[in-house]
Amino acid sequence: MKKYMLSSLSALALTAVAAHAETVNILMEAVPDTTYIQELLPEFEEATGIDVNLEVVNYAEMHTKLVPQLVSNSGSYSAIVVDFYWVGEFFKAGWMQPLDDRIAADGFDTSVYVPAMMDLVGQVEGTTYMLPFYNYAMGLLYRTDLLEDEANKTAYMDAFGTELKKPETWDEYLQQVRFFTKDGSYGVVNQGLRPDPIAMEWSNYLFAKGGEFIDDGWHATFNSPEGVAALEDYITNLNDYGPVGAASFSFDEAFNVFSQGQAYSYITYNFFRAAVDDASGSAIVGKGEIMGVPGQTPEEGGSLNGAWGWAIPKSSPNPDAAWEFLKWVESPEIAKKRALLGGSATRLDVFDDAEVIAKYPQTTALKELLLGSHNFPTFTYTPQFVEVLGRELSLAVSGEKSAQEALDAAAAEFDELAIKDGRQE
């Protein structure tokens, strides 16, 4: 009898404690999905009694802010979002909690995620540490009105003898870039700022040329002839067919050139597709579309994949509450609601949902883009590699090094880092 009373009293006490407002603090970046989640939060707070604080910080500062929080034994964030390039680093340092047990216990279905997403921001070496949150694969943004214009069509046919349409191969795309650079308009606008904009954008060029970053043994292969050709294409596009100053454009400057109607194309993150239709910032509403970056043949693509994943840090003060939040925010209903508000999908059930497609017809194009995309080499030293690659690419663009020299220098540093990480023999 006593035992029964004791256990029920303690159960009551625990429930009381749990019901008392617990707070989940999450550090997030200012991506559009953050706003959509913020809007849906009251549902979660009502259902579980747990308060959620989303602390929003500029991307550049996230890593700086996270590192001390993760190194310390007790941080203030219950859950965090992890950019794909930090995954290797966080894994090696042991900063994330494995989620497999929780997934199994609660029967959470991870098979709905696009496999490329799970590879990038889900599992690391067989253990699940993250749930994919947000996809930002890169694609080719292009002007549909310029392609449909009759005068352009005739001029193109006269000049090249082929039809003016969505480019099916990389070379066809480059030809269109040259064609559209006239009368004060540009064929392309690039984001040449160090280190991520230029490194990420150039990765598309590399894949489009049929190049790869590494071989199976983790040796750098991006300084191959395909890589050098890709860099030369990039330099030509930036200097000859784009606006002045693109060498230091970040996505903001470059997108503004595109959205003011000054350029035909812009290779960038897929979420900019939605910004094209935002009248408060775009002069080309309804005139832009996105497609996967074309490759060497119509079947191949050159898009670079990118994503964020949810994780629970080792230093989390309340991992259980954090897991409750993750389960909720990545549940099929909420994932669909986020997508309907305009969020970026990572799961097949959302991509194939009829309502989502009806509201945002570009959803299918975005799914194709994602399925055809390539991953950047992610290991412990990815951020450092991105820094090195960005620097070398920028030196090549400003003419201080030849394309081959720049890529060789970056490859040499990559090999050093890969050896340091124990991945290369």
């Binding site: 200012a30 959205s259 003011q260 009248a279 002069a283």
Partner: protein, 271 residues
Amino acid sequence: MKLARLDGLVRHLILAGFSASIALPLLWVLRVSLTDKLTAYRLPPEIGQIGLHNFVEVLTQYDFTRWFGNSVFVAVLATAISLPAAAMMAYATARYRTGGWPLMMMVLSSQMIPPIVLVLPMFLVFTTLMPVPGIIAITIAHVAINLPFMAWIMISFFDEDTRSLEEAARCDGATRWQAFTRVTIPVAMPGIIAAGLLGFILSWNEFLYALILGNHSSQTLAVGLASLETHAGVNIAPLAAATLLALAPVLILLPFLQKYLIKGLSLGALK
């Protein structure tokens, strides 16, 4: 007579030219704050749709009032704590050579180190002292940042002229402390005000410690405004509005300090 008028004209031309070069970019920012991103980047520049919507957006959709309040709290408190301490330290060094130059060097050297290597140990210290470092941690860090600079600035204002005034006061029976507070400080006021102002500004603009040591509720303006640079680009129109909103109250308050500033500034009018 003519020369004096020419002199005055030249002076005002220089001052006006300088002020224009400072003010023109700010006027452009004002223009951007009244329109939207599309109009901000449209050339040739057109009037577009003017409205106060950005100001409203900043005040309602972002935690602007909290960021502003936090920044004011931290800057005022940090300056209020470090100014007296710095003034005393400066006076001791200037008048009594306390610690000599090694001490002053040591004090300043704490600021010669890039904060980036100090922020991690500081964070670890604060997390052991308090569960969630927040606004108090930031204020304490700012006190330590301001102090060395304020002390060094004030040293040069405690000079020979104040020494003779102090000696006169001491002859009249004042203690060292009384001489310091009743004679030296009023005379050195321009320097003290300048140091206080600069300390306030340093704290107001400080980013790294506010970022690392802060949390959700303690976000200062510097950190909060930076989040307007989103993954999808800069929200330039709201950012312009927020910049002006942050500037306005401080400029409105400054005339209240006018009494001291003008007194200090007009002491120079005799040259």
